[in-house]
Homo-oligomer: 378 residues x 2
């Protein structure tokens, strides 16, 4: 194998596939990056066996020569060293050359590295996925849907299925739901699809987080292929594979109340900042709990108290309070997490009494919903 390649393109691709590489693997070859040069270009692969990422660098892009392939071939190089080396090379182009056996020379200007490579034939094969039923979604929408749900997955392995996000596809719509059983995030959107397939799968939260980091912010369509135990995201020159979680995701539709007793409209940012301040003196207490009380004239009082340290009382003018008076306590952290995902300047919070889950939605937008279980303190 021998090729000359633009350093910046190589660095970018290495950074992308590094997102899948971990040093904590029981399979030694997975600490490496697989590099394959063909007459079309160079393909890099990184994998931790849960997530696999393949990045392709074409030999030509929009008429520019990106890579000159002198001899096709393949090698696996230690990811930790290879990624640091390419970042620091002195010139704009790099030559990579597998010499005798597996010894690989990386040459740039007057700098010459020799790395001991591993046999690319021993690198695990990526899942073979039949691309029959594809649906498409713009990259920026996909990233928003991940951001608005993935924070609610469980971090505990006691119910592993809850560490993933439930993706349901049907009737030309994708619905993403995540819950750790104390809160729930739901986001739905129309998708482009040819076949009218329906799916109900659970994607690990970690995979979606890494995917989101790699994708650029643009509205290019991403192809998504779901199989029995894998999901594949296809962007330009990028393949992202993740295994799916096994097991049945709980039916969350029953959790969401369809009636309410108190409805409040508030400015999102003012409310977020008031909760943030109140949380400063809630931190020492159990689970960061703040109290929320409706008082007269559309005013809400938010308060917390840590006896040794002190207390805080915030008054917030709402746009409107309809229905019953309310005293309720909830986790400030959960509330802030939820509020940060909501776009738009005003939100509705719908309560069904101090003991029941409540729902936060942007006004005039039913594509997103955040649900929080209160804490019983009254």
């Amino acid at each position: 194998m021998r090729f000359i390649i633009q350093r910046d393109r190589l660095v970018q691709s290495v950074q992308d596939v590094m997102k899948a590489v971990t040093s904590r693997t029981t399979i030694p070859i997975l600490t490496g990056i697989k590099i394959v040069a063909t007459t079309d270009g160079v393909t890099l692969t990184g994998s931790d066996s849960d997530i696999s990422i393949e990045s392709f660098i074409p030999k030509e892009d929009a008429g520019d020569e990106i890579a000159e392939i002198k001899q096709p071939g393949a090698i696996v190089l230690q990811a930790k060293f290879f990624s640091e080396i390419v970042k620091k090379l002195p010139t704009d182009t790099v030559e990579i050359h597998v010499e005798n056996q597996l010894q690989t020379v990386i040459r740039s200007g007057k700098s010459e590295f020799k790395l001991n490579g591993l046999d690319a034939d021993e690198y695990p094969h990526l899942p073979q996925i039949k691309e029959e039923n594809i649906f498409k979604i713009p990259t920026d929408l996909l990233k928003a849907m991940i951001r608005q749900t993935v924070f609610s997955v469980s971090t505990s392995e006691t119910r592993p299925i809850l560490t993933g996000v439930n993706w349901k596809v049907g009737n030309g719509e994708l619905t993403c739901v995540a819950t750790d059983s104390h809160r729930l995030a739901l986001r739905k959107a129309r998708i482009e699809t040819e076949a009218d397939e329906s799916y109900n799968v659970v994607i690990p939260g970690k995979s979606l987080g890494e995917l989101s980091k790699i994708l650029d912010d643009n509205n290019d369509l991403i192809d998504i292929v779901i199989t029995e135990n894998q999901v594949l995201f296809k962007a330009k020159n990028l393949l992202f594979f993740s295994r799916l979680l096994e097991g049945n995701y709980p039916d969350t539709s029953k959790l969401i109340p369809n009636e309410s007793k108190t409805n409040i409209v508030v400015n999102t940012k003012d409310f977020l900042h008031a909760i943030d301040r109140a949380s400063l003196l809630a931190r020492e207490g159990r689970n960061n709990v703040v109290k929320f009380t409706t008082i007269q004239d559309g005013i809400i009082e938010i308060s917390s108290n840590t006896p040794e340290i002190g207390n805080v009382v915030e008054e917030l003018q709402s746009q409107s309070i309809e229905g019953e008076e309310l005293k309720i306590s909830f986790s400030a952290k959960f509330m802030m997490d939820a509020l940060k995902t909501l776009e738009g300047s005003e939100i509705t919070i719908s309560f069904t009494g101090a003991m029941r889950p409540f729902v936060i939605r942007p006004i005039n937008d039913d594509s997103i919903l955040q649900l929080i279980l209160p804490v019983r303190t009254y």
Copy 2:
């Protein structure tokens, strides 16, 4: 005590004095910030008993009202909570009011915090320093002198005196020296002084690091007062006290060779980058060691080798090599630390054989010197 103050000024002062506050103190009241309001303004104090910082907020600055003092007084508030609270307050002004006993109300807009304060009379007094012998130095020069020496202090407590920087004042000149016994940094500069006092003291490296973080980048003169066991830095509205280290600093003048056998002039940045790359494959070996060899035509070869991983060879064109040929090994980290402190595009490295310390200086500038002990590998 009761006053109204501009939030931004309060936040800035709290951040400054927080640099001295640590939660790991055996004196509980030092986890607090002392706040004293007088008819002139508000003074904040933080201390960990090694470092003490006092920040003054005048009630008026350039005709602007900064603080309105309604009732003089003093209180100590928990630094951790107070600093987070003031940062997040909703409006541009804050009212701070000690109510009954020590309970303190912090009010801003519709937000009201009550913190349990501590009695300011129980806060330790800052050292009383007679300001007899003051010398002056511009802030940006002081920051440069700290940056160029403090990285060389020892991090080991086996010889506590080496964790400080040796400051010597005499003949209108300040000389700062730091060494961990494997390398040495020296920087000197003219100072403004009225008396012709001379001093020889050792200032803890940590104190100088914190001082440097607080000082703005400007060329206002800082007043420096040295006493038997304290040093005081006085900037506008800021006092920074540090204890001095006890004991005799070793005589470092003998360490610096006054002859040389090989003199090399190289471009600082090119050399730094070459060392940085070579260090990538030196990391796994003992102490991050790279080899440096002069070859013909003014070319230097820098190399390193980690048998399991691979090796790297860099060639660097020097401006000139004078004297004996040389093969030497040294710590890449020490070399990079030293090079980063040197301003100017070219440096001279003066070697006295492979076993002797060598000296790095900018060309045409004898105010700064970095010395490194080689590692014996040949």
